[in-house]
């Protein structure tokens, strides 16, 4: 049994995929614990949540301080002493007094610690984190080495984002774990991760709702190339699919490229709950009149054009001509956005898709379909996803150590390239199984990078350095097929 749960801004969607599909929508006011009571029994639970990001958006006064250990290179203001070189050797030590006086003079809500080449040796970042424990709780300190990839500026941007999300992700994890022993987070690139990994790098949750509908529609329709239009309460999201998967791209935060990849999506600030004044407004104030709200929304406008959604009589206070005008305006705006994508076909999902997507498709001149269960495609996408992991490894035969996803290990002997690749495959396999992956989802482990060079000191070849990246890519689990 596969259980998917998508915690949105106002509702939580649940889907259970077993022999058939069943789904449920629960208002958030009842709390996550209450929702989880609906899915007692065995089966894998996967959770997608946009709440950490919403949380971030609502507390504008939150401040993250970055403590940089830039070492030699381009100039970064606000750095402290200390340096790790390209091979992971500590070539300059950090100074405890400098660090603590920096922290004392830069008070903030959370701390991001980023050292250059920390992905080759995290020791200096860890040392700074230790000094920082007197200033911040663990849930508000983020380090950059778990990001595993080179690119100091990208790690600065990612770690800053992580520092503002970590505490909330930590809270949600504890909450879910109090009801279920194990669960997985659904990431913004449509893969699943164990909570520990996500707490170390919460930025991966960005765009997870878009990734969820993308994967869900792919599962429900079997379409390889199409544009998913998800009509939600507050937004309408456009998510293109290629070869049956949403398309990963670099996440940008504070105008800087991060080290995180999430699916490509375009979000319009209009949905079924968008307020109507003299036209459609890009915000939500509450439910539609048809669902017990106090003012008319796009949903009520649909009712006035002839549909019967919810308590449709309640929508009758809205002027009919204004209603028609608002629906037209909405469909035109979405159709315009559709022109930015060259997918031949549109697939609609979300509760209001059957009422709006046909008109959007007509306006945009594309074919469309709306699969069964379209109203909970998001939660289905979360349910049918699979564990996906990336292993970034750097093997240094000279120094007798390897660094795997930012963690240093001793290495007794340096194998040849084939051996090292095989050991990486096995490790990623072991980690994925530990996280709850289905063994047959691990049939294909991709080798994304494999390069080596000899290290010569004096006139002698001393050993080799090898970089390997292997991945279990995101996708739909065999259990759901």
């Amino acid at each position: 049994m596969l259980v998917g749960m998508d915690v949105g801004g106002t509702n939580t969607d649940l889907a259970v995929v077993e022999d058939g599909i069943s789904s449920l929508k629960v208002p958030n006011t009842r709390g996550i614990a209450d929702v989880l009571h609906h899915v007692r029994g065995p089966g894998r639970l996967a959770v997608s949540t946009s709440t950490p990001l919403n949380h971030l958006l609502t507390r504008r006064d939150w401040k993250v301080t970055s403590l940089l250990i830039p070492g030699p290179g381009l100039r970064w203001p606000g750095g402290v002493k200390g340096a790790v070189n390209h091979c992971g050797d500590i070539v300059e030590e950090v100074d405890r007094e400098e660090v603590t006086s920096f922290l004392a003079s830069h008070p903030a809500d959370a701390l991001a610690v980023i050292g250059k080449f920390s992905v080759r040796n995290p020791a200096l970042e860890q040392k700074v984190a230790e000094y920082a424990r007197g200033f911040y709780p663990d849930e508000r300190i983020c380090l950059s080495h778990p990001l595993a990839v080179l690119g100091f500026p990208a790690r600065v941007a990612t770690t800053r984002l992580n520092a503002s999300l970590k505490e909330e992700v930590f809270r949600i994890t504890k909450l879910v774990e109090s009801e279920r022993n194990t669960f997985l987070f659904f990431r913004g690139d449509a893969g699943l991760s164990p909570p520990g990994d996500v707490i170390r790098n919460p930025s991966v949750l960005t765009n997870s709702s878009a990734a969820a509908v993308g994967l869900g529609v792919s599962y429900l329709t079997g379409l390889r190339d199409c544009l998913v239009i998800d009509v939600g309460g507050t937004t309408t999201d456009l998510v293109p699919l290629e070869s049956g998967m949403p398309i990963p791209e670099v996440l940008v935060h504070e105008g800087t490229r991060t080290a995180t990849h999430v699916v490509r999506a375009h979000s319009l600030p209009f949905g079924g709950d968008s307020v109507i004044r003299d036209g459609l407004m890009p915000w939500r104030e509450g439910n539609a009149l048809a669902f017990g709200g106090s003012g008319p929304t796009l949903t009520d406008a649909l009712n006035r054009t002839g549909f019967e959604i919810g308590d449709y009589h309640a929508s009758s206070g809205l002027d009919r001509r204004l209603a028609e005008q608002v629906v037209d305006e909405y469909c035109r705006k979405v159709a315009e956005a559709v022109q930015g994508f060259d997918s031949p076909r549109i697939a609609g999902c979300g509760y209001l898709a059957p009422f709006l997507v046909p008109e959007i498709a007509r306006e945009a001149g594309r074919q469309f379909s709306i699969p069964p269960h379209a109203e909970c495609a998001n939660a289905i996408g979360v349910a049918v996803s699979r564990v996906s992991l990336t292993l970034v490894a750097h093997f240094d035969g000279v120094r007798g150590r390897s660094v795997v996803n930012g963690e240093v290990r001793r290495m007794e002997r340096m194998g040849d390239e084939d051996e090292l690749v095989e050991s990486c495959r096995q490790e990623v396999r072991r980690q994925a199984l530990e996280a709850g992956a289905h063994p047959r989802d691990l049939d294909e482990i991709r080798v994304l990078t494999c390069s080596s060079y000899d290290v010569v000191r004096g006139a002698f070849r001393r050993s080799r350095i090898t970089d390997i990246v292997v991945q279990v890519a995101p996708g739909i689990t065999v259990e759901a097929r």
């Binding site: 381009l74 100039r75 970064w76 091979c87 300059e92 080179l150 500026p153 390069s451 060079y453």
Partner: protein
């Protein structure tokens, strides 16, 4: 405006033998350093991939017999000198290095960037028209210079800052007044040429300028030579384009040479060259990597420094880690500067008949 970085991972592929000084490891750490410093995502830089130089472009510099030899040797393996063997499969990689220099120069010409840095391997400045030498097969710099001249650039000034004399480049342009070749290099050191008395021949008399410096020469002397020889020459020659043969074996940690230049000192030289190019030739400036064998202590920091200086970024933090401080003290020879000044006096005297800036 941006600085174009020409680089391809294929440049990490060439290797004569695993323990040769000119080996893959040379650029691997540099590549790591550039990636970690975010150069490939930085708004001031544009990463461009090279394409192989064409037969026609190479034939403007090298003799047909030599090109045929390289082709042949490249399939079976071959021998040029004890430092320079031809490993199998060399030719496409050598063509890609020459093509990288061309790509860099043309992107500046076309305005894709204000200036450019070609991080190529194998190097080129010892290669002559008819033979390779000293780890070099094709003269990347000369091939790029001839290409931009083909595209309408008339006068080019070359600043060869490799620790070794750029004898190949010198010989190619020795009789040519359209290319002003200047070289600062250590003496004594391979290949032994590059005396102040070598100043060109025929039409090219006065258009070859050699500045041999003793071991232990450091940043101060290099800047002295830039300010008192290179800059005045540039103003008088008024080139349309400046090209740096950016060898980095001048670094104080280099195992093959005995000079004492720092990453910061080198970067500041490039900053001055950028200013000079702005003054005399609309900023058109390209740097092409030549030698440099201090794979860990020198190359990552110097290459990053060159890139940063070309882009006009703050150079304050371009430096080696502190652990190298003693090494620098040992490499410097305080008496070297006096000898550099005497050499410069001799040079000015020798060149006085050809350059007004040096006449009394």
């Amino acid at each position: 405006m941006t600085t174009v970085i020409v680089f391809d991972e294929a440049y990490l592929r060439h290797e004569q033998s695993p323990d040769h000084p000119e080996r893959r490891e040379r650029l691997s750490y540099t590549f790591d350093q550039l990636r970690e410093d975010g150069i490939f995502d930085h708004p001031s830089f544009r990463h461009v991939f090279p394409v192989e130089a064409t037969q026609e472009q190479v034939a403007r510099v090298h003799l047909p017999e030599y090109i045929s030899f390289l082709k042949e040797a490249s399939t079976r393996g071959g021998f040029i000198d004890f430092d320079t063997v031809v490993p199998r499969g060399l030719l496409p990689l050598a063509l890609l290095a020459a093509g990288g220099a061309i790509r860099a120069a043309l992107s500046v010409l076309r305005g894709d960037g204000e200036n450019a840095f070609a991080l190529v391997r194998p190097p080129g400045h010892h290669a002559r028209a008819g033979t390779g030498a000293g780890f070099c097969y094709l003269n990347n710099m000369a091939i790029a210079v001839r290409e931009i001249q083909q595209q309408g650039i008339r006068r080019v000034m070359i600043l060869d800052w490799d620790a070794h004399h750029g004898d190949g480049t010198q010989s190619i342009f020795y009789g040519d007044s359209s290319v002003l070749f200047t070289s600062i290099h250590q003496r004594p050191l391979y290949p032994g040429s590059g005396d102040t008395s070598e100043i060109g021949e025929g039409d090219g008399m006065g258009y070859t300028v050699n500045m041999p410096v003793p071991p232990g020469t450091g940043d101060g002397s290099y800047h002295y030579l830039f300010d008192t020889i290179i800059a005045p020459l540039a103003r008088e020659f008024a080139p349309d384009f400046i090209a740096i043969s950016a060898g980095q074996d001048v670094h104080f940690t280099d195992p093959l040479a005995g000079l004492a230049v720092t990453a910061r000192g080198y970067a500041e030289l490039v900053r001055k060259a950028r200013q000079l190019a702005g003054e005399v030739c609309g900023g058109r400036l390209v740097a092409v990597l030549e030698g440099g064998y201090s794979v860990e202590g020198g190359l990552p920091y110097t290459n990053l420094g060159i890139a940063a200086a070309l882009a006009g970024l703050d150079l304050e933090n371009i430096r080696e880690p502190e652990v190298f401080a003693d090494w620098l003290l040992k490499a410097q020879d305080p008496s070297a500067h006096q000898r550099v000044c005497r050499m410069a006096d001799t040079l000015r005297e020798t060149l006085a008949p050809y350059w007004e800036c040096f006449s009394f």
